[in-house]
Amino acid sequence: MSRRVPSQVGAHATEGKREPSLILETCVHTLFHTALLFSVFLLFAGHNAPGGGFVGGLVAGAAFVLRYVEGGSGEVQDAAPVPGTVLMGTGLTLAVATGAAALLGDGEFLSSGKLEMDVPLLGAVKATSALAFDIGVYLVVVGLVVVILTTLGAEPDHPIEAEEAP
């Protein structure tokens, strides 16, 4: 068969908006929350199994990438509860504050503390500062992906001259 001209569908798509695909949408809807859940699992399990804040964050980021391929950066903006930079700022603050908290006590910078208490019904609940630190990492990584998708991902497809130059 002969070579055909490319579809014109893409031509009037703007600002990272994608041509919808029913199949993709359905798939993303099925996977999005599950991927996020898995990322949370990786975050918490990381101390004992492969994973951790970074890997977990990237998996969560992948979930957002799924939203992006489905519906463009607008979809990501809808999905992310706060701007990516704020997410990252929060994560960085959390990680550093966790480390600095030790300074308030006796410990060295970034030395890990443990909080254990018995909660009725649940038994012993453990919270380590390493986990808080990892959560900070997680937030930073998710924030990074969100920032990328909402900035680079939101850009139109033509260079500046095309619209401003004489």
Binding site: N48, A49, P50, F54, L144, I148, T151, L152, E155, P159, I160, E161
Partner: protein
């Protein structure tokens, strides 16, 4: 010391070098990324022989965990910077329709002036 790994390292560095000597930022970024892979392999080789994944309490003959942690950090950092570099090349495209790394204007001007003087003198 595994020869094939060293071979891989060598090839990755060679290819990375070749690519970063090109003019397009895309190629340069790819070259740096490939070289980065090489560097991570170097770190891994620094840990010695292959071993079991380093999880406490499940036996012995573990792989050295420290280079793994270092490589992980290095991967992430390189990735972050490379991502920014890509954003730069996007901006470059926005301003110039290209991601070719231009020569420095002022440097060229001075070099031209030097040549012109030499011709005149």
């Amino acid at each position: 010391m595994i020869a094939v790994l060293a071979l891989a390292v060598g090839v990755l560095y060679a290819v990375g070098t070749y690519l970063i000597l090109q003019r397009k930022l895309t190629q340069i970024v790819i070259g740096l990324a490939i070289m980065g892979h090489g560097a991570n392999l170097v770190l891994l080789m620094a840990g010695g022989r292959a071993g079991r994944a380093p999880f406490s309490g499940t036996g012995d003959a573990f792989a050295d965990p420290l280079p793994q942690a270092l490589a992980l950090t290095a991967i992430v950092i390189t990735f972050g910077v490379a991502a920014f570099l890509l954003a730069l090349s996007y901006r470059s495209w926005l301003l110039r329709h290209d991601d070719e790394v231009e020569d420095d204007v002022e440097d060229r001007r001075i070099a031209r002036r030097a040549n012109a003087r030499a011709d005149a003198g």
